[in-house]
Amino acid sequence: MAEFIMEAIGNIFHPLTLVLMNLGVFLGIIFGAIPGLSGNLGIILLVPFTVNMRLSDAIIFLTAIFCGGEFGGSISAILINTPGTNSATCTMLEGYPLAKRGHARKALMTALSASFIGGIISSLALLVFAPAIASFTLKFGPPEYFAMSFFGLSIIASLCGNSLSRGLIGGCIGILLSLVGMDSITGSTRFTFGVVELLRGLTLIAILTGLFAIPNILEKIHVKDAGKEGAQIIQMDKKDKLTLAELLSMKWLILKSSVLGCIIGAVPGAGAGIASFISYNEAKRTSRTPEKFGTGMLEGIAAPEAANNGVTSASLIPLLTLGIPGSPSAAAMIGAFSLKGLSLGPTLFRNQAGIMYTIMAGLVLVNVFMLLQGTFLSGLAARITKVPETVLAALLVVICAAGAYSVNGSALDVKVFVLFGGVAYVLGLMKIPAVPVVLGFVLGDMVDYNLRRGLTMCGGNLWVFITRPITLAILVLMILFLAYNGIQNARGSRQIRESGDKA
């Protein structure tokens, strides 16, 4: 392990890697700061740019966008009262009132410091836990992989709110789409309609851009004052500093929120939004002055920001060790791996350990660059939020088309991108969420392949999935996860009903 860490340290200080880290953080801050865009969308759009990069550089670049995006969301939340990302909503509740009182810079520095600490703790969690989980999962055979991918699909339950059936329909559509192309076991073709280019299957990046970027563009079409410039930005006073005493007074809160963010991030499907809401509520619950929340409390900024950056690296744990993406951005990273001809999972740690450690160590450094860029470039990022929606929409269309085209150098992928934009639009009208479609698409091939391999291994005996201890444990975990989600959803529905009755 020590040799891999030494190799990683050598790799991350490569000049190009350092440039890419900074570029990723900068782009992430910009994507996060512009309301309507997000770090997630940034990753999806920029995956094609990683085609000529080394794998470790590509993943560090993409994760840097994610880290920067989580902090960037707080810039617009604090300075223009519009959260750049949904995970910055809680930051806005405290940050904007504080900024209006003349403490915009202090609010931003609180968000940045908490984001930095959350990000560092998350990176260390990845560095410690991912190799351990990966070495355990080396014992997995096809039945275990099937159980694991099936567990991955159960994440759909946590992604589709109170309509499990519509989420499942989305998931099934995604799995069906993943089967397009050549069957990896028998070599027969599936749903190719005689199109030779479809033999390799549908391209993940084309689907992701279609499903997530086009609804974003269609939202911008809806904006009535699209040609006008953005909202007024609150100016920052350079003398308004966050003192060390103020930061130290929140040390335990930041630490707790960061750990909470790591735990939530490691659970596929949960994400930064949930982490920041839970941490904000926890900060309010344990505060000596909970009545002051909503008026500009520093604790109310630090907790959600530590948590949403705590999610960033930890969310890579299930992706790197098991190949299970917990979010669209993680799915996009699978696209980056497949561009290099690699598939995710525990064997990656065995065969590409140096690269894996480079990625994990690089993420620590990414957070340092985020702290530096956040300190000096927040004002610039705030000004970029004034880019008119019309210009953004036009550029998004072209970047998406170019990105989809570039993956395989095929015009068919651009058509797939537009087709899936239409699919996202139609599904949206029926409130069928798009995220389960992506999850189904990413995991579908894994489910199909491992189910059939597992059954072939055991002469068609389905009991193999219950009698093997690891598969049984995974399936029990899945049932507990589904039960927990069911209870949470029932609670949520009851609360909505009760608040409706009161109204």
Binding site: S165, C172, V414, M430
Partner: protein, 165 residues
Amino acid sequence: MKKRTADQKGSRGPALYRIPTHLTAGCFSIVLAVAAACLIPGQIKVSGQTGITSRTIPFFLSGIIFLLGCWLVFASLVLKKEDYKEVEISQETRRGIFMGALAVYVFVMDWIGFLISSLLMGAFVLWYMEDKKPVHYGIVSACVVVIYGVFRFLLGVSFVSVWGV
């Protein structure tokens, strides 16, 4: 689709439609499942395969989609559980036209090349969003050329091209 006019809401405004999403998603799923099941025999050849074949999972998924669709229709029509989505017809028409324009863009790309079609599309998006500032047209056009240049020369992507661009 139920129509709800602005007058019914007691305020002036555009006409709203309420889409019964359970019923619509249910019908959509049933049609999709049947279509997939009909396509499978023609699209997936399984000569010589026995037991679990290449068709097994697709058939299984079609069945699940069908059952989920039936459940949604049952919930809507029999249990009277419905979840409506309100849409503004004028906005949806605008979105529909925009999707049509995107479709034209990708097909025209094969004829006039990536760069020219993207320049035209960029200008169309600005015009469609009623942006009248010439400087925005200039910025978008310049950015399209830069994007093309980055992909073409830095990333080595060979775009569909006409007259060398």
